[in-house]
């Protein structure tokens, strides 16, 4: 049974194998561009959210790396930047959704003489992540204490 712990350790790290964040919210042709909007977390909830956008040439499908992209959410306008996204084909920015509900989102893509505007609506849910977080960390010591109790019982039994 010596491989029990290593196997458990490897399985533990397996849970940290991440998928890439960002779910597609919109994929649309606009002017000379094809624009795709990704958002994380999914579903969106109040608080900070990452919006990332891929802009492609509508005719050739080639990814365009240099357009200027502004996104307006409510009264907040942010300019997207390539350095903000781990996928360098995208541009990204963080926006803040202050309350739940339907939020109008306007995207302005500008490159040379080409300009395109897209509007969409995103649904923002109440943020339950804080409560989940707190419960997780409160229950964590409870779990460890239970494990410790089992440990002590097993130890006592083996001594007997």
């Amino acid at each position: 049974m010596k491989y029990l712990f290593p196997l458990a350790a490897l399985l533990f790290w397996a849970t940290a194998v991440f998928g890439d964040g960002g779910t597609m919210l919109l994929h649309r042709d606009a002017g000379a561009f094809t624009v795709t909007l990704f958002a994380a977390p999914q579903p969106l909830h109040t608080g900070a959210a990452d919006l990332s956008v891929m802009v492609q040439d509508r005719g050739s499908g080639e990814v365009l790396l240099d357009p200027t992209i502004d996104i307006t959410v409510g009264s907040e306008t942010v300019r997207l930047a390539r350095g903000q996204a781990s996928n360098r084909l995208l541009q990204a920015a963080t926006v803040n959704f202050s309350k739940p509900g339907k939020w109008p989102l306007t995207m302005l893509v500008h490159r040379g003489n080409d300009l395109a505007q897209l509007t969409t609506e995103c649904t923002v849910e109440p943020d339950r992540s804080r409560a989940t977080l707190v419960w997780f960390y409160v229950l964590l010591p409870v779990g460890i204490i239970l494990l410790f109790i089992i440990h002590q019982v097993l130890k006592l039994r083996s001594e007997v």
Binding site: A9, T15, V17, D20, T36, N87, L89
Partner: protein, 726 residues
Amino acid sequence: MSEGISQAAWGSWALPFWPTFGLLATAVLYLRGYSRIRRTRPLLFPPWRAWCFLAGLLSLWIAIASPLDTLDSLLLVAHMTQHLILMSVAPPLLLLGAPAVPLLRGLPRSVLRDGLGPFFRTPALHHVIRVLTHPVFAWLAMNISYLAWHVPQGYELALSSPRWHELEHACFLVTSLLFWFPVIQPWPSVSAGSRWAMLPYLVGADLVNTALAASLTFAGRVIYPSYANGPRIFGLSALDDQVAAGALMWVIGSIFYLVPLGAIAVQLLSPPSRRVHPPVAKGSVLLPQPARFDLLHLPLIGGFLRWRYGRMVLQSVAFATAVLVIADGFLGHPMGAMNLAGVLPWTYVRAFGVIALLVLGNIFCLSCPFMLPRELGRRLGLARFKWPPWLRSKWISIVLIILFFWSYEAFAIWDHPQRTAWLLIAYFAAAFVVDTLFRGASFCKYLCPLGQFNFAGSLLSPFTLQARSKAVCDRCTTHDCIRGNSQQRGCELQLYMPQKAGNMDCTLCMDCIKACPHDNIGFFAVVPVHDLLRDPVRSSIGRFSSRIDLAALVLVVVLGAFASAGLMVAPPAYVALALSLAVVAAVGAGLGKKEVFCRLSQALLPLGLAMWTAHLLFHLVTGWGTLGPALHQAAADFGWHFLPPAHWAMPPPANSVLSVQLLVLDAGLLLTLYLGWRLAQQWAAAAGRSLLLLLPWAMTVAAGYAAAIWIVLQPMQMRGVMTMNP
């Protein structure tokens, strides 16, 4: 495809912190254990095993951090390559490293024996492991997981949310580790069945893989809607992408099954080889005890700490900073958040001081600026008095700490730079006067509130000054560590090294190290809570169990944490604490009420320090960017107008800090309960009686933890958290 796009795609690396940290930690653990076991079993652990294991970890990291991960929602072929690594590359490589024993041997022996031992001996757990690694279960688990996540509904579910996506990848890795286990049969596991069974085992898995790959390759339509409806890159249509992914799974995936299949077949058909065991040198199985980690042996840090002027350099920097703070406090902006006197001591120094206590030791006292003018006073030659014996306790400093906590809140010192400046001047003056008149470090040992706070906190520090060899101390006749010599003074706090235990009263001045003629003092790593489980006679301190003043000091530090973070919950906490201690003392009658009170009070320290850390960390994180603007403002206030005027803005509170705060509090709770449990066991051998002793105290601790959680969830005052607008 243009070069720019290609560069952008290949440059799409991410650095996921926790997985990267976890993989690195696993590598370190493995290599530590590997180097130990290789000494006794070099034939079983040739270097290629270590390389395989490390390559497995590296491949895992590539799967989660490389462009494969960032492009997987755009390209099916990238996603399938990622799956291939998680299922067919990383698991066999990891298992080829025979990780069981190296990872176990990499752990501290006590963790292995006392922590994990009882679990290893559980029959139920053995049974579960036997089931999990049984070839039938492992084969079914991997193939069902493989198919289930690749049907369109499963695949789309994974792409719809990062959580499902993480679960998908975890399923692949976990079930693949199980699948490859009977194939590799890593030492020391023993095959339950015939090795011939591995041939149909691998052929069957390859057939499943072939069927799935063929269905993707020859489908003639896009199976996964996400790729049909999403953006296409590199001029690859969704269908072409799918065909490429199917072909990859088919060809490469099959190779991963067929190569081991061939190897096992050759192995089974070859005549059995006679293994020759080289003679093992007698006694070599008994490994030497691992050497204690001595910080002084580190090249740069060790040299600096031992350097004669090392402490003075740190103190000079701290002194210059204090002078700057005082000057800005009097001359600068009256608002605390825009003044160095409001920002530096209360946002930065406090937080770093507490963090340093937990990761290293009493660094604040090591670099204490108040000691420099004291040295000046020493040169006047007036220090002829001895500190009165009846004042040689912590009671005055306890009163001063309480006074400090009270005045900090009552006079809002953090928000009034002038008051902070006066406080610092008073501190300098007190240290100068006391130590100019009295011998030894009377101010540090009996008066300084900051010092007492740090002494108490350093009981949990992971490093301590200790003698390297007791035999050398026994032979020593000069005792320079305490008496000093012509070159170097000895310990002014009267901590005699052979009898010094723990960090209480140690300012880390390093005088003892510099004075010892035998170079017999090290700065060793220790298990932080262990010191509170012992009660030896400590040099210049005595036993903790007989020092009510020390217990009271710890209680003030602990309760001060709650009072400082949220004054309103403190009184009930005091009452509950007092009641439970009284009950415990009553139950433990005959054990010595004084001892019970003292040691249980000290056992509260982890929770108290956790509360301090959670509180000060919040201010540090939310006020992290304030130093630059405050320096900027100070420069302007001093009339140095070479910088443009500062613009201020209030940043939003950081949400991510809450996780760290809660984690720190969890650690504090668990360590406090552990200490209480171990102390109760020391006092009462029977488990039932131990529980009876522990229960009321543990309930108070739980109430304190609940109060701490409640406090960190409250909106905090944004003390000193204004940053400059970009």
